[in-house]
């Protein structure tokens, strides 16, 4: 077990190194630099530009810059943001991570709380109207682009009903009373994954409901609810959990689209701003964060597997 985890963590480090190298190379191939006329408010005089480039070492060959970056990275230093007056990238990301993480967790609640019950309902009513409606609702929510869904939800909840503010703005997550502001964005963010989860739950439940142990449970006179939830669902959830891992990783690392629509000051909007501003440190930081989160969550899922299914052993 410990060897398995050690090997996986080692592999995570190797992958992150490759991810860093590819991103670094791609990022420097993008024309323009952080201090060009297109990236700053006022064009800099040539001498100042040169001095700036030299100060940050941007005039060195790219491999040299990458080596220096790695040297800082292993010591936990992600460099500074060019666009925000030399603010440390770690500091900036900690700031942006909080809203994204919180919103992602709320969306995850939507995915699990909506997708699993809909899937179970569809499976237990296979072929009947409930099946069609449950699956239809989940699929319809995923059938329009998230920005259109976000707009429709905003129109209903913010404009017509006036329950939530139109713009999420700063301060989200700083107090309990700010949390309801995240509900509408969380639904828009979670809808596609919710459709996926409800389909997987349904398929897996259908298989579980046909197993012998479910027939045994029914035969010994258990209530249909107990059979469904305690006997069938527990086993049906195994394939669902494997999909939930990457889904969670994707949700908590911030969505570029949802964050730009609702004005969430999160990781997704930080990335897109950093690409247009050629803010190299922030581009690298957000990409590595995403890669690390997705790999660690996948590791957690693999570790959870033997707990859920005793037939599985790790090697």
């Amino acid at each position: 077990m410990a060897r398995y985890i050690a090997a996986r963590l080692l592999w995570t480090v190797v992958t992150l190194f490759a991810l860093a190298a590819i991103t670094f190379a791609l990022m420097h191939r993008v024309p323009g630099g952080p201090f060009d006329a297109a990236s700053v408010d006022r064009p800099l005089p040539a001498a100042v530009l040169e001095a700036q480039q030299a100060y940050y070492g941007l005039d060195d060959p790219v491999p040299v810059q990458f080596g220096r970056y790695l040297g800082h990275l292993v010591r936990g230093n992600l460099g500074v943001s060019f666009a925000q007056q030399g603010r440390p990238v770690t500091d900036l990301m900690l700031d942006k991570m909080w809203p994204s993480l919180l919103l992602g967790l709320m969306a995850f609640g939507v995915v699990v709380g909506g997708g699993v019950p809909l899937g179970v309902l569809a499976a237990t009513h296979r072929g009947r109207a409930v099946d069609t409606v449950a699956l239809g609702v989940a699929t319809a929510l995923a059938a329009v682009p998230s920005f259109v869904l976000a707009f429709v939800l905003l129109l209903i909840f913010s404009v017509w009903l006036g329950w939530t503010p139109v713009f999420m703005g700063a301060g989200f997550g700083e107090s309990l009373s700010s949390l309801p502001r995240g509900i509408v964005p969380a639904i828009a963010l979670g809808a596609p994954a919710m459709a996926l989860i409800s389909r997987i739950t349904r398929a897996s439940m259908l298989e579980a409901l046909e197993q012998d142990y479910v027939r045994t449970a029914r035969a010994k006179g258990l209530s249909p609810l107990a059979v469904t939830l305690r006997h069938a669902l527990r086993n049906a959830l195994i394939p669902v959990v494997t999909v939930l891992g990457p889904v969670l990783a994707g949700l908590i690392t911030g969505s570029i689209i949802i964050e730009s629509i609702f004005g969430v000051p999160g990781i997704g909007s930080a990335f897109i701003t950093s690409v247009t501003a050629r803010d190299y440190g922030v581009i690298m930081g957000t990409t590595l964060l995403y890669g690390a989160v997705i790999m660690l969550v996948n590791l957690a899922v693999d570790l959870a597997y033997p707990v859920l299914d005793p037939r599985v052993t790790l090697r």
């Binding site: 992958t15 993008v30 995923a142 059938a143 259109v148 689209i257 990409t287 890669g291």
Partner: protein, 313 residues
């Protein structure tokens, strides 16, 4: 265990599929849109890039009236879906957008399918070290944030394809965009193919093929690969709408197909800007996108049920 693939079983799969009404309906919807897209230039009532501006009537300049009319028109006899912010015919632009979006889907499936099948097949049939190497590479590609990779690739490669602005009549920027989308989608396909092939590697018919002296590559392609056909087809039907959605998301942040060319994503995000003026302009392309999505989903479900013998009732 795995998808049945002999000729007779295909017949049975088709029979099962024919009885699946929602799957069949999904297929019909898709075929309809493909036909419309292919007939696009013939059906189009106008040039998709032409502007139909009409000078305002009446001599007095009213500051509340737009100077030029012809923009944001509601659906009518001359402009079936109305006109957009530049007074272009939305019906003709939708046909063009449908064609580009379907091309995105096909291109992605071909790129992702090609790389994924090759990697998965080689990994499963080759020596152990090659398998490890290829699967670690797949893990790496999987850990790469999709949208971020597409954005970086798009920004890094610019609008030319090895210096050419157009390749086979398609805009180089569009082609690169689709290539990038396809490039993020192959790991799932590779894992799928590898799993399927590993499951049939040690079966008797493989040994029989070795015994009669078939070459390793022949065994891999002629005997093992067909066993992955079912899951691969199903995965492809789910991949296609993902490509269209990815392009739509990119259009929304201004990194999609560049003007004056259109895709469903470009239409939706353009029309999104003036939805309060003319909501039908947003509703129509969105509805088409939704129908494409639902069509592929139900077709995929139907195909999976038909190709998986365990699911038969």
């Amino acid at each position: 265990m795995m998808a049945a693939t002999t000729g007779r079983d295909h017949g049975r799969a088709w029979q099962r599929f024919r009885r699946n009404r929602s799957g069949l309906a999904g297929g019909v919807v898709l075929l309809f849109f493909v036909a419309v897209a292919m007939l696009g230039p013939v059906i189009a009532t106008h040039d998709p890039t032409e502007q139909f501006l009409a000078p305002a009537t009446g001599g007095v300049l009213d500051p509340m009236e737009p100077r030029d009319t012809g923009k944001f028109e509601a659906p009518s006899g001359t402009h079936l879906f109305g006109t957009d912010q530049l007074a272009r015919d939305i019906f003709s632009r939708t046909l063009e957008g449908l064609r580009v979006s379907l091309a995105a889907a096909v291109f992605t499936v071909v790129v992702a399918g090609g790389i994924g099948i090759a990697v998965g097949l080689v990994a499963a049939s080759g020596p152990g070290w090659l398998d490890s190497l290829l699967m670690r590479g797949t893990d790496l590609a999987y850990a790469f944030p999709d949208l971020l990779l597409i954005i970086l690739l798009r920004a890094a490669l610019g609008d030319t394809f090895f210096g050419a602005r157009q390749v086979l009549g398609v805009d180089a920027g569009v082609l690169l965009l689709f290539l990038a989308i396809g490039f993020t989608a192959w790991p799932t396909m590779a894992r799928l193919v590898r799993g399927q092939v590993l499951a049939v590697r040690e079966t008797e018919f493989s040994m029989a093929a070795v015994a009669i002296g078939a070459s390793p590559s022949r065994i891999a392609i002629r005997h093992w690969l067909p066993h992955a056909a079912g899951p691969v087809i199903v995965e492809a039907t789910f991949l296609a709408p993902r490509a269209i959605f990815a392009e739509a998301a990119l259009s929304f942040i201004g990194l999609g197909v560049s003007p004056p060319s259109a895709s469903l994503g470009v239409l939706i995000s353009d029309h999104f800007q003036f939805v309060m003026v003319q909501w039908t302009a947003l509703a129509i392309p969105t509805a088409i996108l939704a129908l494409l999505f639902l069509g592929t989903q139900y077709l995929g479900d139907g195909l999976r049920d038909a190709l998986d013998p365990r699911a038969s009732r």
